[in-house]
């Protein structure tokens, strides 16, 4: 209990829950549209944004060089998401090729920019793997505000976003603003990535968006239930991972993802055994 009285622990837990709840919202739409790896593509662009923010900070001679890192990440991630969506919509290139270009371009630009800013690759590590132990109250407020945006739009427009990600051709025929809604998904993904960056880092951010959805998928048959369950799973996973790292010296982002993969394997195995038993019973009954 004494641990919970520590303001740093409070901040860590609040940010973890917010990220755990919000990441699977956008993740559900990405899986629905079969673009599960979009988060990775945008994540790498966000990394270039972090480095660009760092460069801007040192150019402006700011006391803390990294004060512009998160705004830089948001700017680059949203820009990257818009570019991906436009290229995908126009059919300029296949979605996986666009994402591959962003992967390489993002990480290479990040390394070059951080070097130009006088920093080292070590400065980028916190963003690559997460740095929740340095979270401040202002970080908590920024995370809460961005999480609120994701929840309000992601859940408020659920039916319209479902229609567009489920069957784009039909959505066109209904008169829905398909391009605008696609853009909403892309921008929400960018915002989610910047929010989650602090907890799991850009390398693992996509995992937090996709794995809870993948686990929920194993036990649900409805879109709404998959999304709701994925949000709950996301919150439990981040809380569990972060709580363990409060007592043991482990990297929280990596631990959360490893636990998620473990849960996925366990649930998939259990479902497979249950399915076999049901089938055997029905065969015996027949």
């Amino acid at each position: 209990m004494s641990l919970l009285a520590d303001p740093l622990v409070q901040r860590i837990l609040i940010v973890s829950v917010l990220v755990g709840i919000t990441a699977p919202i956008v993740g559900t739409y990405l899986v629905q549209r079969r673009m599960a790896l979009l988060g990775d593509g945008i994540g790498h662009v966000a990394l270039a944004g972090v480095a660009a923010g760092w460069l801007a900070g040192s150019a402006a001679d700011l006391a803390k060089q990294d004060v512009l890192a998160v705004p830089g990440a948001i700017l680059f991630a949203v820009g990257g998401a818009v570019v991906i969506e436009r290229m995908r919509a126009r059919g300029t290139a296949a979605a996986d090729v666009v994402m591959a270009i962003l992967f390489y371009g993002g990480i290479a630009a990040g390394v070059l920019l951080i070097g130009a800013a006088g920093g080292t690759n070590a400065n980028l590590l916190g963003y690559l793997f997460g740095s929740i132990s340095t979270v401040s109250w202002s970080d908590v407020w920024v995370t809460a505000a961005l999480a609120a945006v994701i929840v309000v739009i992601g859940l408020g427009l659920r039916q319209a976003l479902f229609a567009v990600t489920h069957d784009q051709e039909f959505a066109h025929s209904t008169g829905l603003p398909v391009q605008a809604l696609n853009m909403v998904v892309a921008v929400l993904a960018a915002v989610t990535i910047t929010v989650s960056m602090r907890v799991v880092g850009v390398l693992l951010v996509s995992a937090l968006m996709i794995l809870p959805v993948a686990i929920a998928q194993l036990v649900t048959r409805s879109f709404t239930r998959t999304m709701t369950l994925a949000m709950a799973i996301g919150a439990v996973l981040t809380l569990t991972g972060v709580s363990i790292t409060l007592n043991f010296n482990l990297q929280p982002g990596a631990l959360i993802v490893v636990i998620a993969v473990g849960v996925y394997v366990a649930v998939a195995g259990t479902m497979s055994v249950l399915h076999k038993r049901t089938r055997t019973r029905s065969e015996v009954a027949a």
């Binding site: 039916q159 479902f162 784009q168 959505a171 025929s173 048959r221």
Partner: protein, 268 residues
């Protein structure tokens, strides 16, 4: 679900439900449709027929605004196609798009049919309307089931329920009979007949008339992106009256398809 004729005075006006004039469509730099024209009146069922690659699906996808046209006009109920005007259109795309990455129940899929240009959330009573639509297709018990795990015929009925829940005055269907079992074909034919009786126009891409033959008022035949025939459905004229006809049958590997009254394909 059904409307009385008094609800829609325009349905009986001479303005066509859909009017296509000299439409050209290019996809990735290749012109697919070279100046196609056609019309469908209220209460009329028009079959768009043709061989593989003739441009049938491209034409209906342009009709519903899923792909842009490079020239020509498309008017829906006398007005240039618009997102707002799409409220009167019900579209049933080819079944390939039905299973997405995340499971969805038939009810969820049908409710998505209730959205419109300025209605991003379903109206009150959406659930009941969706269940009613599924019942009209004879599958009320599937409302809570995952669409991705249904048979081809069941999935097709869900997609038609999604179009019918919009209470459309113009129903556009792309190959709804492909790979569909006989009970589903019958359910589909009776749903379409009901819609037609209620005064709706039906535009339907078909490879063969099959169970829908009695419904079709006239046919538009496409060949390599051009209209080569407009008039009586081919069954009345006889198979050999059609240009370029032969007896190739691309769907012959589908065991569910019953012996049709007429079947044909144009060599591409």
């Amino acid at each position: 679900m059904t409307k009385t004729h008094h609800d829609h005075p325009t349905a009986w006006a001479p303005t066509p439900a859909v009017s296509v004039r000299d439409v050209q469509v290019s996809l990735t730099g290749t012109e697919i449709l070279h100046g196609v024209s056609m019309e469908a009146l209220a209460g009329e069922a028009v079959a768009i027929m043709g061989g593989n690659g003739s441009g049938k699906s491209t034409l209906v996808r342009a009709l519903v605004g899923a792909i842009p046209t490079s020239a020509g006009d498309i008017e829906i109920f006398g007005k240039r196609r618009s997102r707002k005007g799409a409220a009167r259109v019900g579209y049933v795309p080819q079944r390939v798009s039905v299973a997405a990455g995340v499971s969805a129940t038939a009810r969820e899929v049908v409710i998505s049919g209730l959205l419109r240009a300025r209605q991003l959330r379903p109206p009150r009573g959406a659930r009941a309307l969706a269940e009613q639509a599924l019942e009209s297709l004879g599958i009320p018990e599937l409302a809570g089931r995952d669409v991705g795990r249904m048979s081809g015929g069941q999935q097709q009925r869900v997609l038609i329920a999604r179009a019918l829940v919009r209470d459309p005055d113009l129903l556009i269907l792309d190959e709804p009979m492909a790979g569909v079992d006989v009970p589903s074909q019958d359910a589909l034919a009776s749903a379409l007949a009901g819609r037609k009786r209620a005064g709706a126009a039906v535009v339907i891409v078909l490879h063969e008339l099959g169970a829908l033959a009695p419904l079709i008022d006239h046919a538009v035949v496409l060949e390599q992106g051009c209209v080569t025939y407009v008039g009586e459905p081919p069954r009345a004229l006889g198979v050999h009256a059609l240009p370029g006809h032969d007896h190739d049958h691309p769907h012959s590997d589908q065991p569910d398809t019953p012996a049709s009254t007429f079947s044909w394909a144009v060599k591409s």
